[in-house]
Subunit: 327 residues, 2 copies
Amino acid sequence: MDRDAVEAAAERLRGQIRRTPTLRCEALDRRAGAELWLKAENLQHVGAFKARGALYTLGRLSEAERGRGVITYSSGNHAQAVALAARRHGVEADIFMPEDAPAVKVAAVRALGARIHVAGTTSSHRRQAALDHHARTGAVIIEPFDHDDIIAGQGTATLELLDDVAVATGHDLDALLVPVGGGGLIAGACLACEGTDTKIYSVEPVGCDAMARSLAAGERVAVEPGPTLADGLKPTQVGVKNFAIAATHLAGSFTVDDDELGRALVALAVRAKVVVEPSGAAALAVALRGALPGRPKRVGVLLSGGNLAPTLLAELLTRYGPGEVEA
Amino acid sequence: MDRDAVEAAAERLRGQIRRTPTLRCEALDRRAGAELWLKAENLQHVGAFKARGALYTLGRLSEAERGRGVITYSSGNHAQAVALAARRHGVEADIFMPEDAPAVKVAAVRALGARIHVAGTTSSHRRQAALDHHARTGAVIIEPFDHDDIIAGQGTATLELLDDVAVATGHDLDALLVPVGGGGLIAGACLACEGTDTKIYSVEPVGCDAMARSLAAGERVAVEPGPTLADGLKPTQVGVKNFAIAATHLAGSFTVDDDELGRALVALAVRAKVVVEPSGAAALAVALRGALPGRPKRVGVLLSGGNLAPTLLAELLTRYGPGEVEA
């Protein structure tokens, strides 16, 4: 796979997804010591970049495959994305979600007309439940990240970001920060950046750094994901295809803790006026350290999604908001 | 004045302001029973549309005028906008703000390098203080709304909105909802909509409906602004120029109470993933009633600004968020 696959996906997705805006915010730029180009995928359909891969993948199924229905497993945003894509294509959808999925994500999947099945708390648990269902019914599994079409679809977010930056500045990004769960978004980003000098970095929660550990080991390593605010970034393992692409493209890896995630999320709400979920704030959290190697001038930041409980948002604003006003 | 004045302002402002995105949100569309086209001026420089008028007005001052410095009076967003414009043009700025201005707005004005003077609680109080300062110093008063250049500058937001809707749908807006304080944004909107069939409605907080009362009386009427969450929509009186334009262009007027403002603000955060201040949620609050005359299909909603205390945002999310998740 290469950049052509992402461009083909972008062509096919035209009119089906939103071309989300790339946001600027001088206050955040000052803290980061760089121009931040914030790709607002929280403003995408279903509130997350996941709509891209799901719509592309379902759109490429045959009539016969669609007739058998689709299955997926997800902590939330991919579930919503598949439910949306299934509804648009008139396909039945069965979705396996963890016991601790945020209520706001479960409610959204239900509102889109998909059947929800609760299955354990880890990605392994829910993947197994989905496989069992597939064995019984023959329905098509829509992988959350480890699939060519999913990767190509998610890559379109980065393609748009690069395009916006090129139009505005005449340059490519110097660096790009991407939150990593299973690796769909970053694998797509790697392909989209082919032919540029953009250095791509993965960002994972502390204790959930399956990508960083896999890169260090030179092979995929499974983790027992620790607790984190970033419910979308807790896979047991990154995907096979995702790791293969990342291993040949990434410039480095970062981890962020809950305190940094909360501060970055509140900074986005107060300064940039957008709502992201904790996973969606991960890339900005690293940018705000102002310590990327080589002091890049133009830094891309993927704001991956915006689905979180209003009560959690309120709690984080109460904790970190006053400091933000004085900053 | 007419649409040409707004187009001239748009030409002059190119590259100085952000072309903010027009957002869509299916969940809000369903509630409104219409396509909502949300013009996100909360994403503008200084977090509000006010940057447009201030940058345009200061940009047209003579060298001699700039040398004398500028003065303004404002509850917050116009203050920030003038401070920003003054800094960009290398001009001294003295800003008169009310005692009860939100701390987040005062801090932002200070950070932009302007001198702040505290003056009473109403727009009349702070206007008088500004006039006194002008009499002493000869510095140029940058009116918050009652000025041709301010009106033309603010109108550029609506011009962009109309353009986005036309590109996406091939049509004009059927209706446009505009929050009204002194009337700068709506007067500009009226001019920008000339030549279209768009019906324009003013939205004011209950007890602060100076425009609605003036339209009913056929002349400008002063009000004693009652308490409202919408700190940006509390003028004693709409402007002379603003009223003259509105009186010949508006299709009607609405008022909204704090409960509706809070619900609309939280709906925007949870559903559309953007942060607005209470004033910025006023137009959406009316749209969500789903009861506009003539059942318009395409409704423009001006999200005028996004500057509010994080603690207030937290409080509103706590109060209205749980209902929003179940909706």
